[in-house]
Amino acid sequence: MSQVDSHLIEFLLRQGDNPLILGHRTSEWCGHAPALEEDIALANTALDLIGQTQLWLSYAAEVEGGGRSNNDLAFLRDVYDFRNVLMVEVPNEDFARTMVRQFLFDAFQVPWLTTLQASSDQRVSDIAIKSLKEALYHLERSSDTVIALGDGTELSNDRMQTALNYLWPYSGEFFGEDDTDKAMEKRDIAPLPVSIRETWNSTVSSTLDTANLIAPSDPFAHSGGRTGVRHTEHLGHLLATMQTLQRSHPGAQW
């Protein structure tokens, strides 16, 4: 390729950075979950997400063609070069926020990866097919958990509602649209995110209904993550932790 395909790279970074950052957050639970069974299940989710990251970022690095690896992309970029949505970088806080976030994310990923299976780009399609299998199970598990804890006790309902209220303004960013999105649509690599908004809405509202949880009515949406324009302060701390070895020992092999 003579010219760098910057839109495709941007798209692939968005695809890879979401599971990278969410996988990192989810892995923070290891050894600290409310029950052994949940500990093991969360680790499985995190492992799936890390695996997806490797596929997307490897492809991004290949398209970039500058000799960087998926690890270089994960461990040697700074905040402003990350393209994940803000929702995945906010701290876990508690099991409620962790599971509501997982659910809101899964409810997006499932229809999104479903459409990406038909991508005109074979690699995108292949990665989507593999990731979708995992996302379907994640959604099953996270929606069950949201329903159980929303329905459970007064206290558990309250914790889940608090989490939902906090996360809701971060959910609109899934459906952002810019030149990259338009370029991907034009080339049949990916549809516009807004095209799956209805599906997301219906999954989310039916699950929240069953869970006795109420979606906030304020339509305000934070943005700046998937464009890299303005991340939250949390991402810098996450990267400082995650990248510490690669940053303090340049060039070392591990």
């Binding site: 990192h24 892995s27 923070e28 290891c30 050894g31 600290h32 979950a33 409310p34 029950a35 052994l36 069974e37 949940e38 500990d39 093991i40 680790a43 499985n44 995190a46 492992l47 890390i50 695996g51 990251t53 490797q54 970022l57 998926n70 690890n71 994960a74 461990f75 508690d94 099991f95 329903i147 159980a148 804890l149 329905d151 459970g152 006790t153 206290l155 558990s156 309902n157 914790r159 932790t241 995650m242 510490t244 070895l245 690669q246 020992h249 070392a252 092999q253 591990w254």
Partner: protein, 333 residues
């Protein structure tokens, strides 16, 4: 090793002649190599000892998640992160299998957690040491898992069926853990730069003696082994296993180009094994008494996970009850 701090009854092992008919039959079954199953007759002391031993073993697995979990968020590559996470997840799984084995003896998992949280039950002393650099992930896998495997392989033949079966499963999954650790050590000590080599040596320096302590006190000071060995819930003496560990590990350290922090270490032509220095048993006793470098942090982390998770466990149960109720109502209509 998971019986590191099990108190002895202080009594000598009874001879078959002195036993009650039931106890004699029980002991003879064990002598014949039969497995004892949950509903079989067993002496109260056998049951109590097993609950403590399996419980401490289970606790060691889940507290053992913490020192390595400490580095999941700082793993240097995506592959290392996934491998370490999978490994620490296995430890949770091993804890789960072992708690289930203990539960067949009539104790609940929540009770066992309660005893861990109140300090009534212990876990292996090794997990009270800090993990300070990435090389510690190598050292823990190589040395700590290496020591654990020495202990766990023979336990596959322990007399209590559910414990033995849990150990079979654990040993099968454990096979990649030590390799994973050694692989990290190779990358750092053999193929790494000077600073990585230094980190690897530092990790070995800090984990060598605590690893030797994992096997428990020297046989001459270990008064409670005899009964456990007669019951086949302990298969080898502490010193036997420790020697086996030293003999296996020294050549591995040489391969890595690392030196064992023991000036008295040398090969004994007569015994065909290494002479080595004993660890500082005062330090061992301090750690068991709660004064290790990380005792407070480890226990606090477990207690926090448990109390922070209470609303989740209760919420799930309440939902299950409501769901069952609604189902019953629907069926009644």
């Amino acid at each position: 090793m998971y019986a590191q701090s099990i108190r002895s009854t202080g009594k000598a092992v009874q001879s078959l002649e002195d036993m009650s008919a039931e106890d004699r039959q029980f002991q003879e079954r064990i002598n014949r190599g039969e497995k004892i199953e949950p509903k079989d007759y067993m002496p109260a002391a056998y049951r109590e000892n097993l609950i403590r031993q399996i419980g401490q073993h289970a606790h060691s697995e889940i507290v053992g998640q913490l020192p390595e979990g400490n580095w999941i968020s700082r793993a240097p590559t995506l592959e290392r992160k996934a491998n370490l996470l999978a490994k620490v997840q296995d430890e949770a799984g091993h804890g789960l299998y072992l708690y289930c084995a203990a539960e067949t003896l009539g104790v609940s998992r929540d009770d066992l957690f309660g005893m861990l949280h109140t300090g009534k039950m212990k876990y292996s002393s090794i997990f009270n040491y800090p993990t300070l650099t990435w090389a510690d992930m190598g050292a823990v896998g190589w040395l700590v898992d290496g020591a654990a495997i020495m202990n766990q392989v023979p336990l596959q033949n322990t007399s209590y069926g559910p414990y033995a079966r849990a150990m079979v499963r654990i040993c099968k999954e454990e096979s990649f853990h030590q390799r994973q650790g050694f692989h990290i050590m190779i990358a750092m000590a053999k193929n790494g730069n000077d600073e990585q080599h230094r980190m690897a040596q530092d990790a070995l320096n800090r984990f060598w003696y605590p690893s030797l302590m994992m096997f428990g006190p020297s046989d001459k000071d270990s008064v409670h082994s005899a009964q456990s060995m007669a019951w086949k819930i302990k298969m080898n003496t502490n010193d036997e296993l420790r020697q086996k560990f030293v003999d296996a590990t020294v050549p591995q350290a040489e391969f890595l180009g690392l030196s064992i922090p023991d000036d008295h270490l040398n090969w004994n032509e007569k015994t065909n094994q290494y002479n080595y220095s004993e660890p500082d048993w005062n330090e061992f006793n301090d750690v068991l008494a709660g004064n290790g470098p990380c005792n407070t942090e480890r226990l606090d982390a477990r207690k926090k996970a448990w109390s922070d998770g209470a609303w989740v466990r209760e919420g799930m149960m309440a939902h299950a009850a409501k769901k069952a109720e609604r189902k019953a109502e629907r069926q009644a209509v």
